[in-house]
């Protein structure tokens, strides 16, 4: 079966030294995967290569077999959607208008949104549980509500892949869990492939079946959370001492950094 995301020998960056070097990663359809790594490891650049925003200088990114860079804008919108850390706009859009922006590539510039587009928008708002607030100004919502609206906007694209770029990092633990349960449900019910970039290793371990660990633009490790998230691997990549505990009751992994103790102190 063709993998949802197939990255082979990818080297990419922004003009200067490449951020990603010779990276080979593949994510099967229906997977829920985490991309972890220290700041500057190339996690966001990897996502931008998947959306075609950042061009590869060597290697290729294929989405369901087609080169990502060669997808037309509407094809791209139907294939991959992004939920970033936050979406801000100075304009007073309502929730429904923001979600409708997710249909941008499908809308006709000559006609108002068709019945089908409006139905998809309503359905997306329902799935992300924001239908009740559809008339409210987006700017007035709380951080957690805004992220659910952005997820609804992503769903309105009807994508086969959703990329989360630190989508929960400024939310409290309850809302973090909320958003991740929602993503896990979408993954289960709609078979959407999910790739999430995160600094929250514990959250990634709890929700992802596969972990890709980046270090300095190269692949450090990939596989099951229990195989990748070991003290040795994490210490080598994050350059600090970590403790990894397995909960005796539910088997969940907890990674905590250990304090640096200076000698003689």
């Amino acid at each position: 079966m063709t993998p949802a995301i197939d990255i082979a020998g990818l080297t990419a960056g922004y003009g200067g030294a490449p951020v990603l070097r010779d990276l080979t990663v593949s994510v099967p359809e229906g997977e829920i995967a985490a991309v972890l790594g220290p700041n500057g490891a190339g996690k966001t650049t990897l996502l931008r290569c998947i959306t075609g925003r950042c061009r590869a200088s060597a290697g290729a990114v294929r989405l369901f077999g087609s080169p990502a860079a060669r997808l037309s804008a509407p094809q791209r919108a139907r294939t991959v959607a992004v939920v970033p850390q936050e979406v801000e706009t100075p304009m007073a859009f309502t929730v429904e208008e923001i979600v409708t922006i997710g249909r941008s590539a499908a809308l006709s510039r000559w006609r108002p949104p068709a019945k089908r587009d409006r139905a998809i928008v309503a359905q997306s708002m329902n799935s992300a549980d924001v239908y009740a607030m559809r008339g409210r100004p987006y700017a007035e919502l709380s951080g957690g509500e805004k992220q659910r609206v952005v997820i609804a906007m992503a769903l309105a694209q009807q994508p086969r892949i959703i990329l989360l770029d630190e989508a929960t990092s400024h939310l409290d633990m309850n809302h973090r869990l909320d958003i991740m349960e929602l993503i896990a449900r979408l993954n289960r019910e709609h078979k959407v492939t999910v790739v999430m970039v995160s600094h929250d290793i514990n959250l990634a371990a709890a929700f992802c079946r596969r972990v890709v660990l980046l270090d300095g633009g190269r692949l450090a490790a990939q596989g099951l959370p229990s195989d990748v998230l070991t003290p040795d691997t994490l210490q080598a990549v994050y350059r600090c001492n970590v403790r990894v505990r397995t909960d005796p009751e539910d088997g969940s992994l907890t990674v905590t950094p250990a304090r640096r103790t200076t000698q003689g102190a």
């Binding site: 992004v82 706009t89 100075p90 304009m91 007073a92 208008e97 409708t100 941008s104 700017a139 007035e140």
Partner: protein, 325 residues
């Protein structure tokens, strides 16, 4: 949504009534001119001409303001933000002071259009870095080029003979009495085409309000849409400036006011801004020629005097529905 559509319809239906009312106001007195007499017919023609010019220019400047506020994601953006005002001011001053203006009524508008467009070309060229247009360098180079042009303009005004000075200043304050028929026709054509283009760009403008990265992610060709929007705003603005000089404030306040009424969706916002901006300028001009009749006030003075307090009131009351402030 229904309420906003109704408000748009109201603005559109109000337009002919307001324009007809403006027809009854003028320096020669209040009341509809009697078109059966030659004098009355001449007054009627004169007023109609000005009202149509005012409507077209108000509409064009408002639409250009809508586009630039969306593309630059900046509430202070207006049609002159990228230097078109001082650039075309320079051209108009050159035409007047070199005596080119004496050769025909089209000389000043053409000179203003050409130098305005040239200024924008320079601003864009400066803002390109690594094959990409950066919003921040666009605003920055706009400010810098604009102040260089202003200095040159001030220099030219300072050495101008007295008779030319009056013309330059009158032009800088805006003048809706368009003396050349062909200039009127060409500028109106450019502005209409530009506004239609802006309206057709609505889905992209909505997406670009979330930033070009998000616009790309929802399947908009962000770079192309940005370039198209800037080009359309430039065309409509330079045509408006070439036709009637610098009329400030319309392109800044009308988009804000209209956004408070019909919301931020450009599908409704663009037509609403066009009609409301056209009405606003026609009314300002009617006031300009009536209040101190037979003395005429420059229309730019009226737009600022009327627009300023109006803008503040809206900002104060509707802060949350218009912009996050």
């Amino acid at each position: 949504m229904k309420r906003r559509l109704a408000l748009l319809a109201l603005i559109v239906l109000l337009t002919p009534c307001v324009l007809a009312l403006c027809l009854a106001l003028g320096a020669s007195g209040v009341g509809f001119p009697d078109i059966r007499t030659p004098a009355g017919a001449a007054v009627f023609d004169l007023r109609l001409n000005r009202i149509l010019a005012g409507f077209a220019i108000g509409a064009a400047l408002s639409c250009a303001g809508v586009v630039l506020q969306a593309l630059l994601r900046n509430p202070l953006a207006e049609p002159y933000v990228l230097g078109v005002s001082s650039g075309s001011g320079l051209g108009a001053a050159l035409a007047i002071l070199t005596g080119a203006a004496a050769h025909g009524p089209a000389a000043i508008p053409v000179a203003a259009f050409v130098t305005g467009a040239l200024t924008l070309a320079v601003v864009y060229a400066l803002a390109y870095a690594g094959g990409r247009l950066s919003i921040y360098s666009l605003i920055l180079s706009g400010v810098i080029v604009s102040s260089v042009c202003s200095s040159l303009l001030m220099f030219m005004v300072s050495i101008a003979p007295v008779e030319g000075l009056h013309n330059v200043i009158w032009w800088l304050l805006g003048n809706l009495q368009v003396e050349s028929g062909p200039v009127f026709a060409v500028c109106a054509g450019i502005m209409t085409a530009g506004m239609a283009g802006i309206w057709l760009l609505s889905p992209e403008l909505n997406a670009l309000c979330l930033g070009s990265e998000m616009a790309h992610n929802v399947g908009v060709r962000a770079g192309a849409a940005l370039a198209a929007g800037l080009l359309l705003a430039t065309l409509t603005t330079s045509a408006a400036v070439g036709m009637a000089g610098l009329i400030g404030f319309v392109g800044l306040i009308v988009p804000h006011a209209v956004r408070a009424l019909v919301g931020a969706d450009h599908r409704l916002l663009v037509p609403a801004a066009a009609f409301a901006g056209g009405m606003f300028l026609a009314v300002c001009d009617a006031a300009a020629r009536t209040v101190l009749a037979p003395q005429e006030i420059p229309v730019g003075v009226v737009t600022s005097l009327l627009g300023g307090p109006f803008f503040l009131a809206i900002l104060y009351r509707r802060r949350r529905t218009g912009w996050i402030a």
